[in-house]
């Protein structure tokens, strides 16, 4: 079997045993059967998708309209679709973990220890790298160029490369369900546990390459966003006239540029240990695992703010729009955002207070951590004052924003507890910590991303999302969160360690059952999100907002049609003040034809991005299974594609002025014919995207 023959050359370490179906056949325990069922869902899902696309003959459409597109709007939408798919998988895993803990009280439960460890590792890895990151990248990609009056990102081709690198990483995660096993080392992958001597299988390698692809992808995204914001703002769009979402995008991009390299270094050095027998983080031979911990959190803490800042941006936009008020304390919000971004690099040590530094060092990082609460508090007050005496409408995004303010403050308080080193010695590694960061990530990040999705959806697709199902979903997200995670605070304070597969104290049972109910409610929230999407697509003809401004909102993104034409702006707008569109429509400046219609130059679609991204993914697969020819071949494909693309000179295409004018005039006619909608009826079919405003 193991003789080094042609099969070993061709297939590396792959064997039948890598397939969960074979494992379940040989050992039909519940845990293995669940693994096989999950793999079957992935395979059947892929086959079903293939059949459906073939059945409807949509391959060419998908390829030419989406896959090879360099349009920042389509790339943004693809990022968000990816996030939705990965959210579904990781949320199912969460329900499974809660089920396990609720039933495994002095019993073995439904999944074995190894399987449970894979569950919490994939759940964390997916939620951070393949749900949150693509979601926020997608939102920024879609909205930011529209807000600053640009026709695309600074580097459309790099944008496509970044997307497909991320998709490849996500595909590796999916493949790990079907071929082999994933890492058991948690989302942070600490060595020496993930080193070869303790973990010889393919699991940590899947983690390494999936995360590395995502990390490189995010670095390119950061460069792209920052350069776009620095260089491509419309004339007159001074820094302090930018919508706040752009500010948060800029700070997030800067964090990505500086904080992603530590992650890339950490994963690559771990790979050097595992593949080349080096000794960066090993036990003995001069290795030092603390270097890994420092590298990882040097990325990991700024990452927290990479995630939360865009959500803060969304809340700023949503609260201002649905309160019909200018954002209160704009300058202080900008300063607070920048302060958080800077401070985020000074606190990484609080992730390992207990790992041996002196009390002085812990004190410094503890105080630095608490300092972040100050700018965050400023923001909360600013949002509250924005709502004060505003004309508040409780639309689903607004409800999410209000729920966020309550929930996030609560999470901030428990964060202060954890930031105090002596208390952290009691709480670290318990469910208290798990409850705390889910409190921040669900109540802060996820609510924000969902609010952004619901807020900008009409802009992207030209029709509103169903508000009733939106409210149901919001209620489930909020109620589910409290049910699922408040018990974890209690359990953590009572000493229940995180990542525990079997529990030996029956007193924990009621709390764990409540938490399981919460997880189920959260799952219901996800389902109702999909129902909302389905219902909205079904009823789209009643909910169209073609004129493009359904909420009487402020930024330039609302000044164009919904969905926007691929060139975004017929003429690049000139900006004279903050909230440019709000001011313009109240001064008879909106919905006017251009003086001259000109040809518009746009980037031409290219398959290079998807080739590079997918080749990188296959290269990762080859590395995981030691199929060296595959890895080398894919690397060669990547290098060749990059070089050949450099010889390509025909990279732009021209939209003729006549076509621009025709599309624009048609939209202007729609705006002319539309009935202005007052705020109290904006959630009805009457809303065509033309706001009624007081003169």
């Amino acid at each position: 079997m193991t003789e080094p023959g042609i099969w070993h050359f061709l297939l590396g370490n792959l064997s039948w045993h890598a397939l969960p179906f074979v494992r379940a056949w040989r050992d039909p325990s519940v845990s293995e059967v669940i693994g096989a069922a999950a793999a079957a869902i992935v395979v059947l899902g892929a086959v079903a998708l293939f059949v459906v696309i073939t059945r409807f003959g949509k391959w060419r459409y998908l390829w030419s309209e989406w896959v090879i597109s360099l349009d920042h709007k389509k790339i943004g939408i693809m990022y968000i679709i990816l996030a939705g798919i990965m959210l579904t998988r990781a949320l199912i895993e969460a329900v499974l973990m809660r089920t396990q803990q609720a039933v495994a009280i002095n019993a073995s439960g439904v999944v074995g220890p190894n399987h449970f460890a894979q569950l919490f590792s994939t759940h964390g890895t997916i939620m951070i790298f393949f749900m949150a990151m693509p979601f926020l990248t997608g939102l920024i990609n879609y909205v930011m160029p529209l807000q600053i009056g640009a026709r695309d990102m600074a580097f459309p081709y790099l944008n496509s490369v970044g997307l497909w690198l991320t998709v490849s990483g996500a595909l590796l995660m999916m493949v790990s369900l079907v071929v082999g096993q994933f890492s058991t080392g948690g989302w942070s992958g600490y060595p020496p546990f993930t080193e070869l001597s303790f973990n010889p299988g393919p699991g940590p390698d899947y983690w390494i390459w999936a995360v590395t692809l995502s990390s490189i992808g995010s670095t390119t995204v950061g460069i792209n966003i920052a350069c776009t914001l620095y260089k491509m703002r419309a004339p007159g769009m001074a820094w302090m006239r930018m919508p706040l979402f752009c500010w948060t995008a800029l700070c997030t991009a800067i964090l990505m540029i500086f904080a992603m390299p530590p992650l890339t270094v950490a994963t690559l050095l771990l790979a050097a240990d595992r593949y080349a027998g080096m000794h960066f983080f090993t036990v003995g031979h001069g290795g030092n695992m603390m270097n890994y911990v420092n590298l990882f959190w040097l990325f990991g803490h700024p990452e927290v703010y990479i995630l939360i800042l865009p959500a803060f941006g969304v809340y700023s936009e949503v609260i201002s729009a649905f309160s019909s008020k200018e954002l209160y304390g704009y300058t202080s919000l900008v300063v607070a955002t920048a302060a958080i971004a800077v401070l985020s690099f000074t606190v990484w040590l609080h992730h390992f207070f207990t790992m041996g530094q002196s009390a002085d060092i812990n004190a410094f990082f503890g105080i630095a951590t608490m300092t972040i609460g100050v700018p965050t508090g400023v923001k909360i007050y600013d949002w509250i004052w924005t709502m004060f005496r505003g004309r508040v409408r409780f639309t689903p995004p607004m409800l999410l924003s209000i729920a966020f303010m309550m929930t996030f403050v609560l999470g901030g308080f428990t964060g202060i507890i954890l930031a105090t080193p002596p208390l952290d010695f009691m709480f670290h590694n318990t469910l208290f910590l798990v409850a705390h960061f889910h409190n921040m990530l669900i109540g802060g990040l996820l609510y924000g991303l969902l609010a952004g999705y619901m807020y900008w959806f009409p802009k992207a697709f030209g029709f509103r999302l169903n508000e009733a199902w939106g409210r149901i979903s919001v209620c489930c997200w909020v109620g589910g969160f409290y049910l699922a995670f408040m018990p974890l605070y209690v359990l953590g304070a009572a000493g229940l360690a995180r990542r525990t597969q079997e529990i030996f104290d029956p007193a924990f049972r009621p709390w764990l059952i409540v938490a399981l109910c919460g997880a189920l409610v959260l799952f219901a929230a996800l389902i109702s999100l999909f129902v909302q999407l389905y219902v909205s697509i079904r009823d789209r003809d009643h909910n169209r907002v073609p004129v493009g401004d359904p909420w009487d909102a402020r930024g330039l993104e609302w000044s164009i049609a919904a969905p926007p034409p691929e060139w975004n702006f017929v003429t690049i707008p000139h900006v004279g003040n903050r909230d440019a569109f709000y001011w313009r429509k109240r001064n008879q400046g909106a919905y006017r034809p251009a003086d001259h219609y000109r040809d518009i130059e746009l980037p031409k679609d290219t398959a290079c991005g998807v080739i590079i991204g997918l080749a990188a993914g296959v290269c990762g697969f080859g590395l995981v299974w030691h199929i060296w020819w595959m890895a080398v071949l894919c690397l060669a494909v990547i290098v060749a594609t990059v070089i050949l693309r450099a010889f390509e000179r025909d990279v732009t295409r021209i939209i003729p002025a006549a076509r621009v004018e025709a599309v624009d005039r048609q939209w202007l006619a729609q705006a002319e014919a539309a009935q202005p909608t007052p705020r109290e009826r904006e959630q009805s079919a009457e809303n065509q995207g033309l706001a009624q405003w007081m003169a």
């Binding site: 460069i223 350069c227 390299p261 270094v265 000794h279 960066f280 031979h285 001069g286 450099a646």
Partner: protein
Amino acid sequence: MDGLGMRRRHPGLNLPDDPDHIREQDENDVFGFWIFLMSDAVLFALLFAIYGTMLRGTAGAPGPAQIFKIGPAFIETMLLLSSTFTFGMASIALKRDARNKRLVFWLVATLLLGLGFLGMEINDFAGMVAQHATPERSGFLSAFFVLVGMHGLHVSIGSLWMVVMLVQLATIGRDHKVEINLIRLSLFWHFLDIVWIAIFSVVYLQGLLR
């Protein structure tokens, strides 16, 4: 607008002034590359930090004093510093001389110096391996090989890039994309030189001082 004002329109672009040509995308391209270099600098900074903490982790394997040789390291430094000079001359040719002859001459000179550097570095590594100082023997050797090797990998990529640029100059000629890519390559090349100066002083000189 006076001549000076014109020249300042795109201060980041080291190219002849052309008042009729507004190079916004070109300016983006160069600026974006600066941002990338910042990210790359973080990567090297971290590898330096790792190297610093691994100095004592020799685990009985050869340490700095046994494996470093000042002679070859000094010659490598000179080769790379000269290549920065020759690339500087290439940049002047790119700006001041519309013909390709000088530009190509200086680029080829840079490439040869870069390849000479790489050859000497590979020879160094081979010598260390012959002394059984391989990266899998200790944390220190791992950190050394990855830090210096990462720089070498960058120089290799830069050399490949330079070959591509020479081919483009021969086939496409000097259109504005070739110009922009030469500006970016020059940034990359000078950046690697700076990193090498840090490697020479932090790794080789300090290692031999101990």
